[in-house]
Subunit: 211 residues, 2 copies
Amino acid sequence: MPKTVDHAERRARITAALVRVVARTGLHTVTLRAVAAEAGVSLRLVQYYFETKANLVHATLRALEEQSQRRWADRLAGLPSPVTARAFTEAFCAEALPTDEASRAFHLIWTSYAVLAMTDPELAARPFVAGPNHLEAQLSDALAAARAAGELPRTADPAIEAARLLALSHGLGTSVLVGQRPPEAALAVLRHHLTELFGQRAAGGSGGATA
Amino acid sequence: MPKTVDHAERRARITAALVRVVARTGLHTVTLRAVAAEAGVSLRLVQYYFETKANLVHATLRALEEQSQRRWADRLAGLPSPVTARAFTEAFCAEALPTDEASRAFHLIWTSYAVLAMTDPELAARPFVAGPNHLEAQLSDALAAARAAGELPRTADPAIEAARLLALSHGLGTSVLVGQRPPEAALAVLRHHLTELFGQRAAGGSGGATA
DNA sequence: AGTTTTATGGTACGGCGGTACCATAAAGGT
DNA sequence: ACCTTTATGGTACCGCCGTACCATAAAACT
């Protein structure tokens, strides 16, 4: 049949435009017309690919979920091959901190959606439970392995420590988003926590030692 | 002159209505008409006491600030007079967790406003920086005193520990709000952290010991 | 008693946003 | 060549929301 354009690509372009609008002016300013303008397409096109606004919003959330998983996977894939548990954990948790501008935008929109999901029964709260749960389980497994390898004290409970690490990271991330402290300060607190958790053995970072 | 009604009381009644609307259906559903209906007054009255919607929103934020301070003050005032540093700290941090329904509503709306402030330059981000900073300073002072009294290891840095405690508490609070874990689980993680921080001396709780 | 001020109700207006409707160009199949 | 389907544009409609305007009851002060 006719023109047959790549639907997935169009939809991705539009949801990306929505993400940019949210990052710039907030979720409450998202309108079909604003998204269309940001994406450089007509209002009608946005309607064409996502019948309704609710659809668009949901689709964007799903896109964010995938982006989130890709984000963590990429970060962890970039680590040196024989990695210490401490370095792995630090990378894992640091990904929850809005350091660069892209990361900040991502966490801002994610938080916006999370707040929306707290009251809107239409919007599935599932991603905000399953997502963190998945991360927590992943981290818990890594910590269990580290403990088995003797990199973590035997007294530490992997599940509790994973929960504590991620809650701490998320709390620090929010404080950065809100402008309470710079990203470096948040990272310093996180490192302090890691040092306490793993004990004082060498931190494994190949860079200069921090004073 | 005439009827002379208590303006402060009327304004308080209306901002309280706004808070209830947010807690129930989210900040994005707040409309002057909805607030008026919730408060049981006419739309015109809301306009009369707060000329504009932006005014109402800002006034409600100020009311929330006061409510926040009162919340913490009341909680701490309710503690037994000779209180251990650990019990004080636990009460202080637990106040950041949405345990009962009122607390949940409060933290939900506070978070909603915080997210709004991340992009809206009209809405002062100040409360979300000054507020936490004040809490952090308060807690830091308490920890310093506890350290001086020998209740906290001399190696602990009060400022860092205060930041870490509040970030952790806030992160746990969010995970509860979002439905990732029940309040008791969040409290358990917090207690674990406190035990590690203060060491294994008696926890000071006069109630039954938890298994 | 009258007047002025406060407090309150009702309502209309203008704008914006989501959705629906009507067109039409382009491309593939027959 | 023609028809059918896809992709796209434009636009109109309806509803809701913030704001402004017009009224009026009630109460203090003179």
